[in-house]
């Protein structure tokens, strides 16, 4: 089962922030692959959603970037800033809390 893009949309920022917190610095393609690998292909982040989010995080100064030349092309690595680290904790806690609420609201019995 692949989750719908609506479900991913609201949590993408949190996913990206958490991945960066666990992996120091990452580039776009690496992030999509990592998510695929960790979720067993259940969550596939599209390019169309990932890059706008990365740019927004950069504008919010939650991440910093480093450019690296690979032959003729430039690879942009993303890394959490100090405020990004705080924000990650905040976002992960918020999502955890949200999931508990959803469980209660939708009356989901966990095994």
């Amino acid at each position: 089962m692949i989750y719908s893009s609506e479900l991913i949309k609201g949590t993408l920022k949190t996913i990206v922030l958490k991945l960066l917190a666990d992996n120091n610095k990452m580039y776009g393609y690496e992030i999509t692959q990592k998510v695929k690998e960790l979720t067993g292909d259940k969550i596939q982040i599209t390019e169309g959603a990932l890059y706008p989010t990365l740019h927004a995080l950069e504008a919010d100064e939650l991440v910093t970037t480093e450019s690296e030349f690979i032959g003729k092309r430039v690879r942009k690595y993303y890394k959490l800033s100090p405020s990004g680290k705080l924000k990650t904790k905040e976002k992960v806690n918020e999502l955890a809390d949200f999931m508990n609420t959803m469980k209660f609201l939708l009356d989901i019995k966990t095994a």
Binding site: G48, D60, R73
Partner: protein, 376 residues
């Protein structure tokens, strides 16, 4: 692993940009991303172009530039909040500064004009431009955007007009007239006719339009018409000239009566010094404010008119003139120590306040001092 050549990289980059992605950092991101996919998925001897064409289509629903559009939307959304916050804070600051400024001005407390100037500046250069930027984002059609643009522009001009007016800066009236013309002849009709067409904005449009007409009307009532100003100035000038004739007459009489060979007493010496300083100050004021130092009966046809403009600049721009004023105050003190019985029409301590006065008033005061002296 497929090896991508430099020409292929150029090809991809050109294609991304041809597909409408213009932001450089986004171009680089997408380029690297596609290269990674190709390197990982394409066989060594695979068909680069076919694989690329197929891969790039998985990036979007209809067009590649949707990614850039989404990026810009997110970035603007971020600025949107900061802008809105700044607008609210600057609006609050303007309101507070104007309210306190007006109150202080009424009470004649210090700091009033600093507050008013700052308040109007914030309104003109932070609040109103931000209000403009945020409002046009909400509007869809160009017509509404233009209407808001004209409205905000004329409000800025009108606020600056008031600021220039109270600060006695040049071109205040020009600003006022231009802003009122734009407001009444351009903005109001455009606003009225675009708003009245839609049922939901009809009533609000009518009310706001009427309020605007009332507001502009009140400002215009307060403004003096050029005709009025001219006839007022003619009266000031005629008044000044009559005083000059009186002084001349009195002076001739005094000279005829005095024995010129006798030495002048100390009081008389002071008297004559005061008289000379007054005369010279009057000339400085006339030159500074009206541009001429001599008036005659044909002043009206020559348009040599005395105004009620502030004479502050005459003193601020010329230390010598200011010095004369101080000298006058001192001479008046000395004169009164010789002639305790002779009251002058103005207290010497208040003489220095003359530099904040209006031209017509200051001239009248100086003439009165001369006349009083001639009566002794």
């Amino acid at each position: 692993m497929y090896h991508i050549s430099d020409t292929q990289i150029d090809f991809i980059l050109n294609d991304i940009s041809a597909r409408g992605v213009e932001m450089e950092s986004l171009q680089q991101n997408l380029l690297d991303h596609i290269c990674c996919i190709i390197e990982n998925k394409l066989e060594d001897n695979g068909d680069f172009e076919a694989f690329y064409r197929q891969t790039i289509t998985t990036f979007y629903k209809e067009h590649l530039w949707e990614i850039e559009e989404e990026t810009i939307r997110l970035l603007i959304f971020k600025n949107y909040y900061t802008m809105k916050k700044t607008m609210i804070y600057s609006g609050a600051a303007t309101t507070a500064l104007l309210l306190f400024g007006i109150f202080f001005k009424f009470m004649h407390w210090p700091g009033a004009s600093a507050m008013l100037v700052l308040g109007i500046f914030i309104a003109c250069f932070i609040f109103l431009p931000l209000a403009f930027t945020l409002r046009i984002k909400e509007k869809q059609n160009t017509r509404d955007k233009v209407v808001i643009g004209i409205g905000i522009f004329s409000s800025i001009l009108l606020s600056l007009h008031v600021l220039f007016k109270v600060q006695h800066w040049p071109f205040a009236n020009v600003l006022g007239i231009i802003s009122l013309i734009i407001l009444m002849a351009l903005f109001l009709p455009a606003y009225f006719f675009s708003g009245i067409r839609q049922e939901e904005t009809k009533i609000n449009t009518i009310i706001s339009s009427v309020l605007m007409v009332i507001g502009c009307g009140l400002i215009l009532i307060l403004m003096r018409s050029p005709y009025n100003v001219r006839s007022q100035n003619i009266r000031y000038t005629a008044h000044f000239l009559r005083n000059e004739y009186l002084i001349d007459g009195m002076l001739k009489k005094a000279i005829a009566m005095n024995d010129t060979s006798a030495a002048l007493s100390m009081a008389q010496q002071k008297q004559s010094a005061i008289f000379t300083v007054c005369k010279s100050l009057k000339q400085d004021i006339l030159e500074g404010v009206c541009g001429v130092s001599q008036f005659d009966a044909s002043f009206e046809s020559k348009e040599d008119l005395i105004t009620d403009g502030s004479i502050k600049d005459v003193f601020e721009n010329n230390a010598r003139v200011e010095e004369k004023l101080k000298q006058l105050a001192q001479l008046m003190d000395e004169y009164q120590s010789f002639r305790k019985d002779a009251a002058l029409p103005i207290d010497s301590k208040k003489i220095l306040d003359l530099k904040d006065d209006r031209a017509n008033n200051a001239l009248a005061t100086l003439s009165q001092i001369q006349m009083m002296l001639l009566q002794k």
